[in-house]
Symmetry: C2
Subunit: 160 residues, 2 copies
Amino acid sequence: MPDLPPGPASVHNVLMNHTGFLISRMGLVAAKQFGERLESLGLTTRMWGALNVLASEGEITQHALCKSIGMDPSSMVSTIDELEAMGLVERRRHPTDRRAHALHVTEAGMETLARGREIARTAQEELLAPLNDEEREQLHALLLRLAMATRKEPLAVAPR
Amino acid sequence: MPDLPPGPASVHNVLMNHTGFLISRMGLVAAKQFGERLESLGLTTRMWGALNVLASEGEITQHALCKSIGMDPSSMVSTIDELEAMGLVERRRHPTDRRAHALHVTEAGMETLARGREIARTAQEELLAPLNDEEREQLHALLLRLAMATRKEPLAVAPR
DNA sequence: TATTGTTATACTCTATAACTATA
DNA sequence: TATAGTTATAGAGTATAACAATA
């Protein structure tokens, strides 16, 4: 009885035949690699996702942000807490609804966001290194069509 | 101030521009959909991954199985416990090493595996529904090249 | 009566370290 | 001294329910 299977460890050929497994697997790798790079900014993938959407939407409520990225409201509290503690986001008064906050991205938040986007480019370059430009566009287009079909799935930005 | 961003909820346009995000996102969707379907067999994605590799490798040790799918040995214990409780796998005596087990897939295990593969086909059909056959092959080939480049990453079969 | 944000809680998944019995 | 399997434990990450303030 062979004690170890032949070939490099960690992923088995049998599983590689399934596209769904490959997507799941590469999704974990991508999230992990990006998350490790984001640590240099003191950000998690969840914080980055929230900051990113917030900057593009302007001042919105936590509730709206939750719906926008599919995060649970109770999880959003701690995410915004962390961003606020770092001075990247402020909870400002909502002009009309005294229950709600108007989430505001600070100047420091915009700077961190810019550096995060640079990191995202680097991480993407690392992830897609085996592919040329045309192939990268192909992959993106194919994934985008899949994503558009499952847009309503209430999944958070990052796996962990 | 707009209370909700325009368009359908749960995933934001800004994030859709990143291939890494799309892969991560679709990986979660794929794993979730497959996991829900596997419940009908009483299996988790982890159990299915272990059973699948085990059947293709014959009788190997838990240690070898761990290396083969990138699962932690301590997590493997409960995974095999569950498979054994369902009568799909047996811990048999290793012929030469009294510390180790020879993991054996039972006949019931092979039958469950066959049904699992049918479920995998169905789930894949659902996931890749927006793509035609040629596009599915393209996507698979592109992901496979990425996966081969990161084969050594010690990540488990399924995110949760 | 419903909604926003918050807190407390529980549950899952995973990783770490220590332990045993063998090698 | 190292290895296979196990156990116990702790740490993320997430989901659920209840709550106060306000609509």
